[in-house]
């Protein structure tokens, strides 16, 4: 009984510090590159974490290391499914898949913006590609706050509820085990 109390006191005393020790990775498309952020589940960035990018046939496309802020960014070279693996050593590993459909179409800038005076173009003659580029830029800008918020939400912390739930399961299993032991 005293032991149980000790456990409860220890657990409660440390509750504000409830964090897990595994790595999480977020990968999001930013313009024509992909930004990956790797961090431990207490939110600290994972520095010098090896990032490997694999193509559809499990062929390694490129690799790199996260900087001090736990971020690594690489250009999108082809519009294919990408598998990104982060390895922080000591058995800590995370992976994410980015579907080809989530990648932006590769932009080929034939006409560098700014060279043609805008006034010279009749409104009707704005071609599809220019329109697409403009729209993409605006959308990127507008969606940025939402993307940041989503990525913050995805940073999952271990909650107190989950810990208490887990302990509940353990005692449930104990009850079950004791029940079968008694019947024998």
């Amino acid at each position: 009984m005293i032991k149980i109390l000790i456990c409860i006191v220890v657990a409660l005393g440390a509750l504000p510090l409830v964090y897990g020790h595994k790595i999480n990775m977020l990968a999001q498309v930013e313009g024509s590159s992909i930004l990956t952020q790797v961090y431990f589940s207490d939110g600290t960035p994972a520095k010098n974490c090896v990032i490997e990018i694999y193509g559809p046939t499990n062929k390694k496309i490129s690799e790199g290391k996260t900087g001090d802020n736990g971020e690594f960014s690489f250009p999108i070279t082809a519009r294919t499914d990408l598998k990104i693996i982060a390895d922080a050593g000591m058995g800590h590993r995370a992976e994410t898949v980015i579907r080809a459909s989530d990648l932006p179409p590769l932009r080929i800038d034939t006409k560098p913006a700014g060279k043609t005076p805008i006034a010279a173009i009749e409104p009707r003659t704005i071609d599809k590609d220019t329109l697409r580029t403009i729209l993409a830029e605006i959308l990127d800008e507008k969606l940025q706050p939402i993307a940041t918020r989503v990525s913050r939400l995805e940073k999952r912390h271990v909650s107190v509820t989950e810990i208490i739930g887990g302990i509940g399961y353990i005692f449930g299993l104990m009850g079950l085990f004791m029940y079968f032991r008694r019947r024998k």
Binding site: I2, K3, I6, C7, A11, H21, M90, G165, I167, L173
Partner: protein, 201 residues
Amino acid sequence: MHISEGVLAAPVIIAGAASAAAGCGIGLRKMDFDKTPRAAVLASSFFAASLIHVPLGPTSIHLVLNGLMGVILGWASFPAILVALLLQAILLQFGGLTTLGVNCFAMAFPSLLCFLLLGPVIRGKNDLIAIIGAFVAGSLGILLSGLIIAGALALSGEQFIIAARLVLIAHVPVIIIEGFIVAMVVAFLRRVKPDLLKGVT
């Protein structure tokens, strides 16, 4: 101390699972009606301890408590640790289901060794020697776990020396802290409830 999915080679996973299954089989057989609650209490402590991180300098550490489990549970450490790891994997995606066996073995086998090697010392007559033995049990639990984890990683491709150094350096504070925790718990239990130190045999 949790190895994630996709890091280990298949033979390592199979060997780990087989050893863990054997340990759990023996542990469950030895765990009778009266000793089940203490296994559950320690499994809960283990479950919660690995989730609670205390910031320490540039990193954060968490307790493993496998030395303590060994001292109190003996063979029953295997099923207790397995249940806790299973729930961590299912509820919180800590470690992984395929690496469950390896992780379980890596933490429960040192518990068992602590119990078999240091149990007699801890139950001995001399208080001071018992408490020193308890300190060693707490430290040894983590130390051996770290070495087994490094070994498992080494067998799957990482270089043993590098992996072992990383794992051990990261756990030096825990090795010391757990030594003190087990020493305190044993000092307390020897006075209050020495029965608990007999383990599940």
